[in-house]
């Protein structure tokens, strides 16, 4: 991938929260790139830091408890990790936009939909109401809202979940951002609606060329949508790679466990019991020493209990850029 094709490059993103019981590091040295026009998936279980990654990029981590630091974050070549709040504000909504998980609660219940969808235009381009309305109407058509004219003046509660999520997407795209971050955009929706929304997002990428970071806990969605995948576990990236490589040759035991434990609608029932990952997601405040996955790992080695493996190339046979955070793949293996 050529350097210029990289729209977002994140290096060493670390986010900490100070709380009642000391500091918790919810993101630990997260680095990844997003190519132009690509859909990059972030997958992981609840609490693994997916949303926090998005919020850290947007500069929306709750203050003052949260602290974000990064070696570098470049957006289309521009370094944004050291921007002040007002400079960051000018980027938000214009260069990076975000679609949130809950279309019910992410829209203001007391304001009309078109005002909310068109607000980024007012903020960043100072457009007048008529112009905004016209543009919102266009966007409504683009995201496939039926009878867009009549929906302009609706309040959020008058729309179904699917329509609300479409409106959210319209809002995200209205300033033609370089990057759209979609945080579990379909989790709250029915499967049928979900497939509509996913298809819409892919179509939009194809037509408009927006780069998308797609956050989800559903490997099915990743498989359907993404070009590249980042797997997160307990605040760290544990595996990253092209989607095919990752699904065909998962390198990290966690990824493998995940893939094994997803029930599949397409395959007949194998047996009464399903493969599962034992144990539970760790508490970030009480991480085990060494590899964070070691208590649940079936292939744990002595070194895993002592030292954290870095992200390294994921063994032989995997494509370029396929990395995993596991001693199994580290150059000197478990012997170190």
């Amino acid at each position: 991938m050529a350097e210029t094709d990289i729209i977002l490059s994140v290096q060493g993103l670390t986010t900490e929260f100070s709380g009642d019981r000391g500091d918790v590091r919810v993101l630990d040295d997260v680095s990844f790139d997003v190519g132009r026009g690509r859909i990059v998936g972030v997958v992981g279980e609840s609490g693994s830091g997916k949303s926090m990654t998005a919020l850290s990029l947007m500069g929306l981590v709750p203050q003052p408890q949260g602290r974000v630091s990064a070696r570098s974050i470049t957006l289309d070549g521009q370094e944004i990790s050291r921007l002040g709040p007002s400079a960051m504000r000018r980027i938000r909504g214009r260069d990076i936009a975000m679609v949130f998980q809950e279309p019910m609660t992410s829209l203001n219940p007391v304001r009309r939909v078109w005002e909310q969808v068109g607000e980024p235009l007012a903020i960043h381009h100072g457009l007048g109401r008529r112009a905004i309305r016209a543009r919102v109407l266009e966007m409504f058509e683009l995201v496939g809202i039926p009878e867009p004219k009549t929906r302009l003046d609706a309040y959020p509660h008058q729309l179904s979940g699917g329509l609300r999520q479409r409106a959210m997407i319209a809002m995200g795209l209205i300033c033609e951002p370089k990057l759209l971050i979609a945080d579990e955009p379909t989790t709250a929706l029915d499967v049928t609606t979900q497939s509509q929304i996913l298809r819409l997002m892919r179509d939009l990428r194809d037509r408009v060329g927006t780069s998308i970071i797609l956050i989800t806990h559903d490997l099915g969605i990743i498989a359907e949508m993404c070009d590249e995948v980042n797997v997160m576990y307990a605040g760290q990236l544990v595996e990253q790679g092209e989607v095919f490589a990752l699904f065909d040759q998962p390198a990290h035991p966690y990824t493998r466990g995940l893939l094994a434990s997803i029930p599949r609608a397409t395959e007949p029932r194998a047996g009464r019991r399903m493969p599962s990952i034992p144990g539970m997601v760790p508490n970030l405040a009480k991480l085990p020493p060494g590899c964070r996955f070691n208590p649940r790992c079936g292939e744990v080695m002595p070194v895993c209990l002592r030292r954290d493996p870095g992200l390294t190339a994921a063994g032989t046979g995997s494509g370029p850029g396929h990395t995993a955070r596991c001693w199994l793949h580290s150059p000197n293996g478990g012997t170190a």
Partner: protein, 297 residues
């Protein structure tokens, strides 16, 4: 039923976090400095009230007309009132009545309100309609007037103050509790209890009630200062605690007559009210914050 023959998949569950609801609350509360100050003040006050006969420097009822309205001195730390009674002593004794007037009716209205609110919210239907109309009545009725009617009709004494304040207070408690009950009723653990054949009364007592307790605690801390204020209003109108008993409300209301001559007589008990109300407010705020997040996690 047999216990499982083969052990089920053991899961490697880590040691649980050592925490309990109560401990969390206490910890969160203790972090709130204002709330702790409030608590300390109230504790001090309660001690002062309980031990008033032992610690107060003078007799609260002794009339010594020779020592009227003396300024503060080493004998009379806050001076004397129009009968030559030590203001500090009167305030300490007044704390007994004011605290009781603050606490007892609040408790009564909390009890009635909780009962009514839970019944109304959980049973719904006609019970709900009747209880809520009753509550509407109490709320729509200008409360000071209601209190005055009670005081006038039953006579001005401490017991009737309780009745009056409780009559005024239960309705808003009932409303809050009812809305909480309505929310709780939809919770799955209530459904689970019903699915287990748990009797309605048990559901209300063991499931609904404990879950409204945090709200009740907060309401309680806010109801106390309100009741103290109410009592002072009633005293001002001449239907509150009757002299020579001392309540802060009465002391302030009476002291007002001497505001120009000996301001301390009115200001000192006023400050006592102020500090107490502040203290309870701080405690209430602290409790609300302390109780709230643990409800969510």
């Amino acid at each position: 039923m047999t216990s499982p023959s083969a052990p089920l998949p053991a899961d490697a569950i880590e040691a649980l976090e050592e925490a309990s609801f109560l401990r969390d609350t206490v910890r969160a509360f203790r972090k709130n400095r204002m709330a702790m100050v409030g608590l300390a003040f109230v504790l001090l006050l309660v001690l002062g009230a309980v031990f008033a006969p032992w610690i107060s420097p003078h007799d609260p009822y002794r009339v010594a007309l020779d020592e009227q309205l003396l300024p503060a001195s080493t004998t009379y730390w806050l001076g004397t009132d129009n009968f030559g009674r030590d203001v500090l002593t009167r305030i300490l004794y007044g704390a007994r009545i004011s605290l009781v007037v603050g606490i007892v009716p609040s408790l009564i209205s909390l009890m009635i309100g909780t009962m009514m609110g839970i019944l109304s919210g959980y049973l719904g239907g006609r019970t709900d309609f009747v209880v809520m109309r009753l509550a509407d009545m109490m709320i729509a009725f200008p409360s000071l007037l209601l209190a005055m009617v009670v005081m006038y009709t039953l006579g001005a004494n401490l017991l009737n103050i309780f009745i009056a304040l409780a009559l005024v207070g239960w309705a808003s408690v009932a409303r809050v509790v009812r809305s909480q009950t309505l929310a709780l009723r939809e919770k799955e653990f209530i459904e689970a209890a019903r699915a287990n054949g748990t009797a309605r009364i048990t559901v209300m007592l063991r499931h609904i009630f404990p879950n409204v307790v945090p709200t009740l605690i907060v309401l309680f801390t806010l109801a106390i200062p309100e009741a103290i204020m109410w009592e002072s209003s009633l005293s001002f109108l001449g239907v509150g605690v009757q002299p020579p008993e001392a309540s802060w409300g009465l002391l302030v209301a009476k002291g007002k007559e001497y505001m120009f001559q000996a301001p301390a007589v009115a200001i000192a008990p006023g400050v006592a009210i102020l500090l107490t109300v502040l203290a309870f407010n701080f405690i209430g705020d602290g409790l609300r914050d302390a109780l709230d997040p643990s409800m969510k996690d």
